[in-house]
């Protein structure tokens, strides 16, 4: 029943308590705010940094060098673009030093559109992240996965990007996290900071259990024979919804794959499904030129060209310089439920 924001917070708490996390930091990450999306409220090791993304990533690297276990935040992925060089360095430390130095850092950052964020709170990061060798990149679409992926990210001794679909941060899971109290209101009373003065507030952490979503493992969230739909993050629920509607209204059924890990990705599951259906659609909201979906499509074409019965497809955001504030911009440049439904319909019905 937790939201993604709560799930990540509880995973970080678990990390502080059991996995040696020493520092959770970033702009407005510490008290009093606990993160612009409440993700870091009440955490013991959370602290506020200067407004300096390069300092955040550099310091995280330094902490990791010295044996600390840092989780840092870039407040919005839109503000990570002055620090790609340091991401590249973090990703190459082990390779460059031939195994002398690991770089166990987690960088979490909200990504994607859907909160009327205009030009600078709507960017995507997965395609950029996928281009930085040496990193792992994960992106949950629900709270349970967020919990399990964050714990995996902390345990992994390599740099990991935890991309959080910002429009889903408040979305509640239908399932309970292991250790979470059954009553959502009780959870909220325990771990959500009160409105107003918080100086004396302390969270009461539920006794959470370890739960891991292995990096590189996708989840098959719907099963069917009329096509393979690959997505993750914010658009995954739309794919599921469209698949369910098409099942109900037209009897089409799809394999819907929640990729969860952008890199490494679960090629085995993709491959198996494509061989079965011969039809594939990859859906994300990032801009459409040199988009990570195009990589997946290339893999599919490389290895399953002769298994495809129809043209393999992508559904992505338009190649434009930003998401406009007026909703007419977003609606017409980022895939919407209607677009997803239409694409799935076509996937199922296009004559082979």
């Amino acid at each position: 029943m937790a939201s993604i924001a709560q799930a990540v917070r509880m995973a970080l708490h678990y990390g502080e308590k059991h996995l040696g996390v020493t520092d959770v930091f970033g702009e407005d990450v510490g008290p009093p705010l606990g993160g612009v999306f409440t993700v870091t409220q009440g955490l013991k090791t959370a602290w506020n940094t200067p407004l300096d993304e390069r300092g955040i990533i550099g310091t995280a690297m330094g902490i990791a060098y010295a044996g600390g276990r840092p989780v840092c935040e870039i407040q919005f992925c839109d503000y990570a673009f002055n620090v790609l060089d340091m991401f590249k360095i973090a990703g190459n430390q082990r390779w460059a030093s031939a195994g002398e130095f690991d770089m166990p850092i987690v960088v979490m950052t909200p990504t994607g559109a859907g909160i009327r964020g205009s030009l600078y709170h709507s960017h995507c990061f997965e395609s950029w992240a996928s281009r930085i060798p040496g990193w792992k990149v994960v992106m949950p679409s629900n709270a349970l996965d967020a919990y399990g992926l964050m714990i995996a990210a902390i345990k992994d001794p390599n740099p990991v990007f935890m991309l959080l679909p910002k429009a889903l941060l408040r979305a509640r899971d239908t399932r309970l996290l292991p250790g979470e109290p059954a009553d959502a209101d009780e959870l909220s009373r325990m771990i959500d900071a009160p409105i107003g003065d918080r100086t004396d507030w302390q969270p009461q952490w539920p006794d959470m259990e370890e739960y891991i979503v292995p990096i590189g493992k996708a989840e098959l969230v719907r099963e069917g024979g009329d096509g393979t739909v690959i997505s993750y993050g914010r658009l995954l629920p739309l794919c599921v919804q469209a698949a369910d509607e098409l099942a109900r209204d037209h009897g089409h059924s799809f394999d819907v794959i929640d990729l969860r890990s952008i890199f490494p990705y679960d090629w085995e599951m993709i491959s198996r499904s494509v061989q079965k259906t011969g039809r594939v659609l990859i859906v994300n909201e990032d801009t459409e030129i040199t988009n990570y979906a195009e990589h997946l499509l290339r893999r599919v074409v490389d290895e399953h060209f002769y298994d495809l019965t129809i043209r393999p497809r992508t559904l992505m955001g338009k190649h434009i310089p930003g998401i406009g504030m007026n909703q007419n911009y977003e609606i017409n440049s980022v895939p919407q439920l209607g677009d997803v439904r239409a694409a799935l319909r076509e996937l199922a019905t296009d004559p082979a």
Binding site: V36, P50, L51, L119, N328
Partner: protein, 370 residues
């Protein structure tokens, strides 16, 4: 418009006591500094207009007529004093402005009609700054050298040396002004501006302006930064600098006047820090509620003007009413204007180019796309 009077903004709260003085003063003083009473009233009127527009904007963000608000309540003295001293025009003979997102007062004082602010806030197709694309306060006015405001903190400080370089070559008195908050000075771009403005023999007429409200969103400056004053950062570069109480219009006016005069004449940089209040928190994302602990420059200036007999409370009320009427009219008009359409998505991506075989006019989607 009945709502107008029902709108109990904090402008109306705390009715200042009337003065007993009779003769209107010629000048308004603060310590040893003065401005003319006439100027003081002009400032005051523009500050009221600015505050009213901001309050109306906050209301819109809460009513659903708009979605996001960010702005400068508490910075009116600084913004208005700045806007009124700009050499406004197009090209390097005039001033360039690299603003951030709390500068409505600068724009109003320069002459921007309220409706252009509202059009952006209400995401109208008629928004001249961004066609309904950008957040409010993200102005762009080519005719006035107001370069596009970006949400990305501090990047404007890396761009400012460029406009100033052209101005230095051009000669004359045009200068570049660049504005940002104090938290943002932690980004390297602030240092870039200090450094690039002082290359030996290439000193640039850049007026670096920092509005220090002591917060970056929720983070208290004193918890993350050791500097006593942001203006101390100028010293290693031999840049002149000053810090001024931004809640005192007399001091701010004169500090800006001195700083601008120096940049205009000496063709060298200056760093001016203004200590300001943040009266509605960071933005609508943090609730935009009125904060009561901080000095309200409008209230204190009003009291000062009344105390010294420069204005009376009837005239004050008239100014406020007038400003509210202006703001309301702007909102009513803007809300009737069209929204951007699907066809707007690609527009104005590329300038027409005679050397481009694919996009000679504008962007039309992927190359060769039907």
């Amino acid at each position: 418009m009945p709502e107008l009077n029902e709108d109990s903004s904090d402008l109306d709260s705390g009715s200042p006591r009337r003065t007993t003085r009779t003769a209107a003063p010629a000048v308004i003083r603060s310590g040893r500094e003065v401005i003319s009473a006439e100027l003081a009233l002009t400032l005051f009127r523009q500050m009221i207009r600015t505050r009213v527009l901001e309050e109306r904007s906050i209301k819109m963000s809460k009513s659903g007529e708009a979605y996001f608000w960010i702005g400068g309540p508490g910075e009116e003295a600084f913004n208005v004093c700045l806007g009124l001293q700009v050499h406004r025009g197009h090209g390097p003979a005039f001033d360039y402005l690299h603003l951030h997102y709390r500068n409505a007062g600068v724009m109003l004082a320069m002459g921007m009609p309220m409706i252009n602010h509202v059009r952006q806030l209400a995401m109208r197709q008629t928004d001249p700054h961004s066609r309904g694309r950008n957040f409010v306060g993200h102005y762009a006015v080519k005719a006035w050298n107001v370069v596009p405001v970006s949400s990305v903190i501090e990047v404007q400080f890396a761009m400012a040396p460029g406009t100033a370089l052209i101005q230095k070559r051009h000669g004359g008195e045009g200068i570049t002004m660049v504005v940002g908050g104090e938290a943002g000075t932690a980004e390297g771009d602030f240092e870039t501006c200090l450094n690039w403005s002082t290359r030996p023999g290439q000193e640039l007429p850049v007026l670096m302006l920092v509005t220090n409200n002591r917060y970056g969103i929720s983070t208290d400056l004193h918890t993350v930064c050791a500097e006593k004053l942001v203006s101390d950062r100028a010293a290693p570069y031999g840049i002149r600098a000053e810090s001024v109480d931004g809640n005192d219009p007399v001091l701010v006016w004169n500090a800006l006047d001195r700083a601008m005069r120096y940049c205009r004449r000496e063709r060298k940089p200056f760093l001016l820090e203004a200590m300001v209040s943040r009266l509605h928190g960071h933005s609508s994302s943090s609730g935009a509620q009125r904060v009561w602990g901080e000095t309200d420059v409008l209230a204190t200036f009003e009291q000062k003007l009344i105390d010294c007999g420069a204005i009376d409370s009837v005239a004050v009320q008239a100014m406020k009413d007038e400003a509210k009427a202006e703001a309301d009219a702007a909102v009513v008009a803007a809300m009737k204007e069209p929204e951007p359409t699907r066809e707007d998505v690609y527009r104005f991506t590329y300038a027409p180019s005679e050397v481009d075989a694919v996009y000679p006019k504008d962007y039309t989607g992927l190359p060769g796309a039907k």
